[in-house]
Amino acid sequence: MSDLLETRGLTVELPTPSGWVRPVNDVSLRIAEGESLGLVGESGSGKTMLSLALMGLLPPGARVSGEATLAADASPRKLMALSEREWRDVRGGEIAMIFQEPMTSLNPVMRIGAQIEEAIRAHQPKLAVSEVKRKAIDALRRAAIPEPESRAQQFPHQLSGGLRQRAMIAMALAAGPRVLIADEPTTALDVTVQKQILHLLDRLRRELKLGLLFITHDLGVVAQVAERVAVMYAGRIIEEGPARDVLTKPKHPYTQGLLKASPTLRRGALTPIPGVVPQLTALPPGCAFEPRCELRRSDCVTEVPALRAAGENHKARCVLV
């Protein structure tokens, strides 16, 4: 398996009234062809800002350093050096994204089919009209939308939440990208519908050999979709490894805490993590989790720990590892 997407020390800085903050701080990760990486984090962890950086959609004024390389074809592309003109080919054509709430990402006054056709034409402007239409219907069919021809004629509000998310997936994949970023794609859905969408994404990933970056706050969901898991806290990756290892043998106290705080069907002693996620404007000088950590040592206060090996292909950013 070759890497489709790789970031090295990717850092995003944003200006705020109280100075520059780093919602993404020195993030290095890799996604291979056909692989799913689950990116787990709570609100403010930087997981969404990371995905926006990978899509070239950062807010104006953002400062970026580090590298993100997309090797979807023979010539690797340095994403952070792309011009807006070049981004137009890459975005949707090589790397695409789906969002939490399909209702706000679909155009409410445009038929579903026309929206997908637009996405195809943006990348293949010379294609014949009939061919574009055929591809749009194919895209809907691939997303397992029943009766794609009649659904293509409908508007987003006529579709259920699950069908809207399928339409979003169809649109995202219509121009044949190799990497798909899914940002909380099932959070707004009922569990029975969520299950179907997770199955669909899993099948498409295998069939199309997609690199899938699945962003979620839900550890149960990540257990279903991801082969590898990266956990983010205050802008940094604090643990990364094979999904099973990270979820059953977590090495970082934050990952351990998240697991103990996640409700499951077995009634157990739910143990919350004390305190709150730190503000990016007031990060502690050492480990960002140190103020909430019950295992803290004196050196946690002064220095940000490195990502250390914690097992086979398993790393954690903690002095206890």
Partner: protein, 267 residues
Amino acid sequence: MEAILSARELRKTYRRGGSVFSQESDGARFTAVDGVSFEVARGETFAIVGESGCGKTTLARMLLRLIEPDSGQIYFTGENLLAARSEGLRALRRQMQMIFQDPFASLNPRMRVGEIVAEPLAIHEPGLTARKRKNTAVLMLARVGLGADALDRYPHEFSGGQRQRIGIARALILQPKLIVADEPVSALDVSVGAQVLLLLQELQREFSLTYIFISHSLPVVAQIATRIAVMRAGRFLEIGAAEVVLHHPRHDYTRDLLAAVPELPCA
């Protein structure tokens, strides 16, 4: 079991589609709650679980008479809630309070936290002095884990979890008997949601509260419920002790819901 609340054959329909101005009376109505009956025992946590659109929020709001049912009966502490008027209704209402899902939408952004938490006192006990109201608010805020410095600040200065604590303090300040909590942790992060669930359990013991807990999430309900009702299309499909519903469900739909829950691998 001593019932603090009993609901019989509650029903609520809404007009389907059309604008508020259209005068179509073709009888096309949507049944949100379709003949629901149950009893809630004093001190228990009765959970109502269902997917979006099943009618659980409409039902919750009818129990507090925030929505009037089309038909049915509600008895609260033995009194006929739907027949209560003015002072009688007001006296019943102070015993039942609500905690909402969205801590961003349910607190008035232009009111200071002290005013928000003390407002129920100002309404229900107008004889109290401002100082007494403030002192009670400080005690209540402290009980939910917020300092007295919160009094003069505005909701936007607080995180989601802290705002939910403010909402809980407001609901508890009148020392109600029954709390209806509509998705109280679903807008919160995992680590914060667990804090709020534990706080709700502590407060229940301390103030002998009865909870009606509305949620779409079986894992959340599994942490807190003594009994669970599974709702779909306006009806209760299954109702029983939490352990039975979660681990030996009788209805196929309950099994489907349980099977769809993404579970963590066992260590």
